[in-house]
């Protein structure tokens, strides 16, 4: 039982990060109908900038309070990612907004490759590690081990996600975002500044992505220029699983995917009597995705959208 509970915790930690990244995909998709494949790379940049800042502060001001250090690094990283994402949207997607849907999709893949290679040139091929500025306690909780950092990851993700849901559902800005996602033209006619709203969407998604990047880097204490790709792909899967375009769906999809992966990897061998091993971890996750999509093509929480309103 304690093993099972440990797997659930593993899954929740993994899932919280997937959910944060998935929100970035789903917000952009909800408003533009664009799959922003560069989002995974924005997450990577977030992790890299934060690590570089911490390394710099650690090198020059070793006496600084670690909490202040982390706050400075996190702020730098979130702001850099927001600026980066703003310019990606402005330069790569906005000129193509009226183009056929495939054009911005290919541009997104291009931006993703460009960012990866830029990061490789700037930060090199070596793995970046997090300097040990905090030591985290490992706690026993119902027979399972969980570090303070992992508790922090789950809690912070939950707070950020709730905040986002509140903004989108209850603020004036959120109303404008929802209006834009329903119809850009009509929202524009009613006085919503479409460009501003779209930029805002990208910037918020990037901020969440940066936080996710920092959390991933801190949890595995490693960052690398190629880390964003797989994470992005998984988060995108989570967004589709939950119903792309739906914020609650992204959160649910992320958590579900994390749980499926870790419980799948832990028990698939026992269930199938050793016939399938833990290398079917991903297969298992995608199998669930396919099953969900067969019965609910728009994802778990996705709404039915008719082709022509």
């Amino acid at each position: 039982m304690d093993i099972f509970f440990q797997q659930v915790i593993n899954g929740l930690v993994l899932g919280s990060v997937y959910a944060l990244v998935a929100l970035g995909y789903t917000m952009v998709y909800g408003i533009l109908g664009l799959i922003n494949f560069a989002h995974g790379e924005v997450v990577m940049v977030g992790a890299m900038v934060a690590l570089a800042t911490v390394a710099y502060l650690f090198g020059y001001f070793p006496e600084m309070n670690p909490i202040v250090m982390v706050l400075i690094a996190a702020t730098t990283s979130v702001i850099s990612c927001m600026v980066l994402s703003y310019f990606i949207e402005r330069l790569a997607y906005r000129p193509l907004r009226k183009a056929p849907r495939l054009a911005p999709l290919i541009t997104a893949i291009g931006i993703s490759i460009l960012l990866q290679n830029l990061a490789m040139i700037i930060w090199g091929r070596q793995y970046k590690t997090v300097p040990k500025i905090f030591s985290f306690e490992t706690r026993e909780f119902l027979g399972a081990n969980i570090t303070d950092l992992q508790i922090f990851i789950i809690v912070l993700s939950a707070i950020l996600m709730t905040l986002l849901l509140l903004i989108v559902n209850y603020s004036k800005l959120g109303r404008a975002m929802r209006a834009t996602s329903e119809s850009q033209r009509i929202a524009g006619l009613l006085g919503v500044n479409i460009n501003k709203i779209i930029s805002f969407t990208f910037v918020i998604g990037a901020g969440l992505g940066a936080v996710a990047g920092i959390l991933v880097a801190a949890n595995y204490s490693v960052a690398h220029y190629s880390m964003g790709f797989m994470l992005g792909l998984k988060a995108f899967t989570a967004a589709v699983l939950g119903g792309i375009g739906n914020l609650g769906g992204a959160v649910l999809g992320g958590l579900l995917l994390g749980l499926i992966e870790s419980i799948g990897a832990g028990y698939i061998g026992d269930i199938t009597g050793g016939f399938l091993g833990s290398h079917y971890q991903d297969v298992f996750a995608f199998l669930v995705l396919i099953i969900v999509l067969v019965f609910r093509p728009t994802g778990i929480m996705g709404e039915r959208i008719s082709e022509r309103a």
Binding site: N10, K132, Y220, S226, H279
Partner: protein
């Protein structure tokens, strides 16, 4: 107008870039001999790939500085370095590209998974291929007279590790993880065989892949089985974070792995949690190699970064290829291949001689353990 200018500028730029590697033939410094090198230069293990490339480049630079004459003509060697992304498909594409661009021989690839499919292409083209680090047995056992390696293979390494786990560490229950690559799986298979025949019990075999950083699910399962030793067949990029998770989950089993993790990078990645991990590596430790110390100094002077793992092996591989060409007085593979297989060369990594398969004769395996944040040498098994 501005757009047109930009277009012309771009076309100009591409033309310039295009000219870059077209320069074969003769120039002032002599006839140019191209030597191919393949390793992953992008992706999770690109730090190892770059390390390999630097080793090869160093050998090339030295050969050029020595002013070698082949067939009565002064020659200049040039390294054509390609990136296979550790991807078998890409590996065959760049192999074909190297063959088409007329290289005289190939150093590489780094991973067994890319080396094996590429070896057919080099064999069909009749080109010599020397891998510095592909340890999977199959590579030299396909009947190709063109395939060589300068490192002991996984059969030898797996056997040493399996014996060590059971006899020296005293493990009764062993959990095995591999990364599903030709190298990781091959080494884990050989380890499993050796550990079983030495009397150990394999309690589970788990799998991950070369893009993952989260191993908590499989480690939690392993924790429930309470093994004495966890063996990992794979590379440092995964082993580092895995080691941290092993400790975070409160697993007390001894961690054991092969040459893929015996790098400086592993120490950085695993940090304090890496303490006590064992790893093997083919060949002698750098400080025990005959030319190890001076090679390391040369390397540091040129690149201002330390050696990861395989740079001395690519350096030797490149040197023996050039050596065979010099002895044959020809850069034609048909002439130098028979001489390459008779190599008896004192390299940085030791005496290099090949057996009938192209495997290193009398290759030794060294064992290391992490102590105070550094790899501490324990012993060397085998060798001459």
């Amino acid at each position: 107008m501005q757009k047109n200018f930009l277009l012309i500028f771009m076309v100009g730029l591409f033309t310039l870039v295009g000219c870059g590697d077209g320069g074969s033939g003769t120039d002032d410094s002599g006839k140019i001999i191209k030597i191919g090198h393949v390793a992953p230069l992008t992706g999770p293990i690109s730090h190892l790939g770059k390390d390999n490339e630097r080793g090869a480049q160093l050998a090339i630079d030295e050969a050029n500085a020595a002013g070698i004459t082949i067939g009565g003509e002064k020659v200049e060697f040039r390294l054509l370095s390609e990136d296979d992304e550790a991807n078998p498909q890409k590996g065959t594409v760049v192999a074909q590209k190297l063959v088409d661009s007329g290289v005289a021989g190939v150093i590489g690839h780094l991973n067994s998974g890319t080396t094996i499919p590429a070896s057919k292409i080099y064999h069909d083209a009749g080109l010599a291929q020397i891998s510095p680090s592909a340890t999977a047995i199959m590579y030299t056992h396909q009947g190709y007279k063109t395939a060589f390696r300068v490192m002991a293979n996984d059969e030898q390494q797996g056997k040493v590790l399996g014996d060590y786990a059971v006899k020296t560490i005293g493990a009764k229950k062993i959990a095995v993880i591999d990364d599903r690559s030709a190298y990781g799986k091959g080494l884990a298979d050989e380890f499993e065989k050796a550990a079983k025949s030495a009397g150990g019990e394999i309690v589970t075999r788990e799998f991950t892949d070369t893009t993952k950083t989260d191993f908590t699910a499989i480690l939690t399962k392993i924790k429930g089985l309470n093994p004495d030793v966890i063996f990992y067949g794979g590379m440092d990029a995964q082993a580092g974070p895995m080691m941290k998770q092993v400790k975070n989950l409160g697993i007390t089993a001894t961690y054991l792995s092969g040459d893929g993790i015996q790098s400086k990078q592993f120490l950085v990645l695993a940090g304090e949690e890496g303490e006590g991990a064992y790893a093997s590596s083919p060949g002698l430790p750098l400080e025990k190699m005959d030319g190890g110390k001076s090679f390391q100094e040369k390397f540091l002077q040129t690149y201002h970064e330390d050696i990861q793992i395989y740079a001395p092996f690519t350096y030797d591989a490149t040197s023996i290829l050039i050596d065979a060409m010099v002895r044959a007085d020809s850069t034609n593979p048909e002439s130098y291949l028979p001489l390459l297989s008779q190599t008896d060369y004192q390299g940085v990594t030791g005496q290099i001689r090949f057996d009938e398969n192209g495997d290193l004769r009398g290759g030794s395996i060294s064992l290391y353990r992490v102590k105070n944040g550094a790899w501490e040498y324990i012993e060397t098994v085998g060798g001459e």
